[in-house]
Amino acid sequence: MNIIIKRSKTMAKQIWPSVLAIFFALLLSGFLLFATGHNPLRAYARLFDGAFGNLNRFAETLVKTIPILIIALGTSVAFKCKLWNIGGNGQYTVGAIAAVAVAVYVPLPYFIRIPLSLVASIVAGMIIGGGVGLLRAKMNANEVITTLMFNYIIMYFLSWLVNGPMMDPEGFGFPQTQLIPDQMKLQSIIPGTRLHFGLFLALIIVVVAFIFWKTRTGFRISLVGESHEVAQASGVSVQKHIVLTMMISAALPAIAGWIDVFGIHGRLQENLPGELGTIAIVVALLGGLNPIGIVFASLFFSALVVGGSTMQRFEGVPYSLVGIIQGLVIVFVICRVVYEEFKEKRRVKQLVH
């Protein structure tokens, strides 16, 4: 009993700053709305309604949550190791490319083709991540820059594929691939909505991530993240774990790409991930790098994205407000340090007097 209370107390302590950050971000954006002649309350109400207003909208929010959640989990693995993987977009894209390539071009029975395509996606992600990890571990090439560059390179690669070799021959010249066979698509959970079985896969990944941090490998990765020197002295190979971390961190976005192809898109198009990768960075941070926290953070951000377009349609508030809220949320999450330092100072003062 006591343990449960203690746990929930520490949980609350961890969640509190994120909740505060969201509140302040909404407040400040509200001022911006007000100053530009909008009614912030109505805009936010519309935003909320757009995200949760009825079963259909809620399902749509959940559909959007799935990739954000999984990419953010991947990002958080790297962040825990103090590696700044900002290549979620590229890794998501290679996953999607591999998924479609297998689904469309490999003439095997579906029950083999589906798992095979998932494996292909994971492997594609791991290759990209492993490459970045190797460059970092062996050549000391800053992973921030390499993952960022890979985002652009892969984006153009996708553009080439859908305009060239993988273009749908019956697509009237649209830059897109063929649809994957209907039988391969993930089934809908709630008929009439787009919410598909990928949700369960996402939840399984959350559970696995939760357990992962209690395993030896998880422990080693967080040890490497804290100090290379101590990790080495403890017999942990820093280089190996940097590569491993990047592989795991990139495999998850690739899975997200697979899920989205089989769950909603059904084909490849240009610029598939949009701004998922950037959102995932913010979500990972907002969720405190904790799997459970990331679930809630990704739900919130997905609601912003889904509700944001409703808000633009009905209230005439530019969609970019969503980005402003996102940016402000990070700023305020970062700023909580100031608050904590202030608290610490007060504590010390009380000790002195």
Binding site: I211, K214, T215, R216, F219, L223, E226, S227, E229, V230, Q232, A233, S234, G235, V236, S237, V348, L351, V352
Partner: protein, 540 residues
């Protein structure tokens, strides 16, 4: 007893001091002291580092500030230099009350400080480093030529021998220290603070430093010498202030009749009488043997050359030497963290050179690292997680897939009790513990693995006397358990207390392996790189 050789040199210089002092005191009536610090208080996260400390520095004198590591000496001087602000208390410079908020304020008051870790930018030249702290006459442009000439002039005047165009990283430690001193004088400092200046020097370099300091004192500069070495204070200081645990415990003139016992009592609050048990242990078969080991450091410079020695079970080999003579690299090699360029190492019959760091641990080589905060502990983690760093994957901690939180907790509770670690609980973050208790965490972790070979690098550096005694006793306990121990230390007292044999390392070479009976002067010579005459021809 074994510090006799330094004693002797002191007596020689003391004569000069006396006459100079007499002349000065006759010439002046009442002079205002250069520095007066009154009732200084400074607290770090609730723990007082300085508690109502008074301090006075007179003109043209060397004032020793004596105390154990962690006694608050450096904190007090950082306050004087504006790096910290005191919680309360007053500072007077030349009789005027002042507020020193930053080093800039301090420098404007003509206070210069030579830090223990040099405050020099390694990639810049001597001239550039000195220009950093000086307002250029051609602001906003640099006045390189003028500064350079002045450096040459000053360097000649005080015999500092500094090349103004050398990049800092090209200079030896002793030269870098002289650059620091030059920087201070350049700005016309008449108050010079030196923080443990001899910690990084060989005895010979220390003597050179002392003669420079005397030169400076004679030209009217007041010098504050932070130190925890008694003999140093006796050799050069005119007056001494003693701190213990942040409190001033004494102030006295240094006269030829001042004794070390007197100072020690004020420093540690009692006579230090280490009395260890377990020194007489049967020495067993050979555990570790090194044969003509060679290695290069990260810059590709040869750091170890033909190092050969062996350690037997139940034996402590002391490795004495001034820091930076290859000890660090040797420890890295022995724990599998660094490659060699030649020679062999065997642990019993196994080739140690092919082992990964992990295999070294599995073969029960454990290491108490030199810099415990950087390479021994994760400061942001709690006690229990720091205790499992070496055995997290053993059956005692880890199940089939996951680490067992319950077993981590149980192990922590046992070790906290057994090693008397003072902590509010196993979930306390390590950075909130004292240095002694941090070191105990490392001891617990490294010693519970039942080491075959234990490498202890500066195991008591920065600890208070109590913790020091505890650590040394624990090391002897391991010896009694039959572990082979390599004790790396710059503290000769420690080396002499614990070692069965003493190897001296200088410039990457073993200068000799001697028994503790050989005496301090012999070790001192070897540490300074001086071989005995008959060996000079062999030295290639």
């Amino acid at each position: 007893m074994y510090l006799l050789w330094i004693e002797l040199s002191r007596v020689g210089t003391m004569f000069n001091f006396m006459t100079e002092k007499a002349i000065k005191e006759a010439g002046k009536v009442i002079e205002k002291p250069l520095v007066q610090m009154i009732q200084i208080k400074k607290t770090f996260s609730g723990i007082p580092a300085n508690d109502c400390v008074d301090f006075t520095l007179k003109e043209g004198s060397v004032h020793g500030l004596l105390g154990e590591n962690g006694a608050g000496k450096t904190t007090l001087m950082n306050i004087l230099f504006g790096l910290y602000e005191p919680d309360s208390g007053k500072v007077l410079i030349k009789g005027e009350p002042v507020k020193i908020h930053s080093p800039l304020d301090a420098m404007n008051l003509k206070i210069g400080m030579v830090h223990q870790h040099f405050m020099l930018v390694k990639t810049l030249t001597v001239t550039e480093n000195i220009m950093l702290g000086i307002k250029s006459t051609r602001t906003p442009f640099l006045d390189t030529r003028m500064i350079r000439n002045r450096i040459i002039e000053l360097s000649g005047k005080y015999g500092l021998d500094i090349d103004p165009d050398a990049k800092i990283w090209q200079l030896s430690v002793g030269q870098q220290q002289r650059v620091e001193i030059l920087t201070a004088i350049f700005k016309g400092a008449d108050i010079l603070i030196l923080d443990e200046p001899t910690a990084v020097l060989t005895p010979g370099e220390s003597e050179d430093l002392f003669s420079i300091l005397r030169e400076l004192r004679n030209s009217g500069i007041g010098i504050i010498l932070i130190s925890h070495k008694l003999e140093e204070i006796l050799a050069i200081a005119d007056e001494v202030t003693i701190l213990r645990n942040g409190v001033k415990t004494g102030e006295t003139l240094v006269t030829p009749s001042t004794t070390k016992q007197e100072l020690t009592r004020m420093m540690v609050g009692r006579d230090v009488l280490f009395n260890f048990t377990g020194k007489d242990v049967n020495i067993g078969k050979e555990c570790l043997s090194l044969d003509h080991l060679c290695a290069i450091d990260d810059r590709g410079v040869q750091v170890l050359q033909d190092v050969s020695f062996s350690i037997k079970d139940g034996e402590i080999l002391g490795l004495a030497g001034v820091d930076g003579n290859g000890q660090k690299e040797l420890c890295q090699i022995l724990t599998g963290l660094r490659k060699t360029t030649g020679g062999t190492i065997h642990l019993y019959d196994q080739d140690l050179l092919t082992m990964t760091p992990k295999q070294c641990i599995d073969n029960k080589i454990f290491h108490i690292p030199e810099d415990r905060q950087k390479s021994g502990l994760i400061m942001d983690w709690d006690v229990q997680k720091n205790l499992i760093l070496k055995n997290y994957d053993s059956k005692s901690i880890s199940g089939r897939f996951c680490l067992s939180e319950q077993r981590i907790g149980e192990q922590a509770d046992t070790m906290i009790q057994e090693y008397n670690i003072k902590t509010p609980g196993r979930e306390e973050v390590v950075k909130k513990l004292s240095g002694g208790n941090q070191q105990k965490i490392i001891l617990a972790r490294e010693m519970e693995g039942d080491p075959e070979l234990l490498i202890a690098s500066h195991p008591t550096r920065g600890l208070d006397i109590g913790a020091m005694e505890y650590v040394r006793q624990r090391i002897l306990d391991q010896k009694a358990n039959g572990a082979a121990i390599l004790l790396v230390s710059a503290d000769l007292e420690e080396i002499f207390q614990l070692s069965d044999r003493i190897a001296v390392i200088y410039n990457g070479r073993i200068m000799g392996i001697v028994s503790p009976d050989a005496g301090i002067s012999k070790i001192g010579m070897l540490m300074a790189g001086i071989m005995e005459t008959e060996n000079v021809g062999v030295d290639a």
